[in-house]
Amino acid sequence: MLLRHDGFRRLCEARERLQQLDDPAPTIEELALELGVSPFHFIRQFETVFGVTPHQYRIQARLDRAKALLAAGDLSVTDVCMEVGFSSLGSFSTLFTRRFGEPPSAFRRRVDAADLTPGCLSLMGGVPGRSFREA
């Protein structure tokens, strides 16, 4: 597939939008219409370029944000769940576990207990502020 300039710009814009945790979030169909492409075309192109569907991308963005919030340590698991736009704690916990290999509550406990030191991989772990402060 050869992406022309405007098609490429559209996909980058869509990716930005999918990372915003606005409430209520636009559906994938609404997003496609805003960008002026058919939902089918949009989903197919997005997946070819970013390796996941727009829906999967948005879920991942929310889970990544949730992880950073949990690591920051100021909000409860339930608050984090609501903050990133999940309405059910059950599905949040299931999706979080699938992406990161442990439930949000276990991740929170582990981060609380960890003696984080700056270094390539701990920094790459996305715990803003905290790894420096505790080092």
């Binding site: 597939m1 050869l2 980058c12 970013f50 390796g51 996941v52 920094l123 772990g125 803003p128």
Partner: protein
């Protein structure tokens, strides 16, 4: 001093490993668990001495950088190929999205594709 290792950031290491091996055709060299991430490197069968690490971009700063470079159309790595037209057609056939088809640029010919992990990658052939 030698350059034996370089890296690209990927937004998902498993997805990255699949793309760089199954689609591009590199071979997995190392895959070692490190905490919640993995130390993954791949090599080219044509140059097995040089490793490319697929690093997680979970750091928000890395993510911001990667996304900005992508949106500006700037490739974050470049691989040399012997026959750019052949690679372009092979990868296009495998479903890879190109943002630049093979294009002459002085001493080289260039093409750019998306690696499905958040990067644009340049291919070049010396003319």
């Amino acid at each position: 001093m030698r350059i034996k290792l370089t890296s690209v950031m990927v937004d998902d290491q498993e997805k990255g490993l699949r793309f760089y091996t199954e689609v591009l055709g590199f071979r997995k060299k190392h895959d070692i668990p490190v905490g919640e991430y993995r130390w993954i490197t791949v090599t080219s069968p044509e140059e097995p001495d040089v490793e490319l690490a697929l690093e997680p971009n979970a750091n928000p700063a890395a993510k911001t950088f990667q996304q900005a470079m992508f949106a500006q159309g700037i490739p974050l790595a470049a691989f040399e190929v012997g026959d750019l037209a052949a690679e372009f057609s092979r990868l296009s056939g495998a479903g890879v999205a190109f943002t630049k088809p093979p294009t002459p640029a002085g001493p080289v010919s260039l093409a750019v594709f998306a690696d499905t992990c958040g990067n644009l990658i340049q291919l070049y052939q010396r003319m």
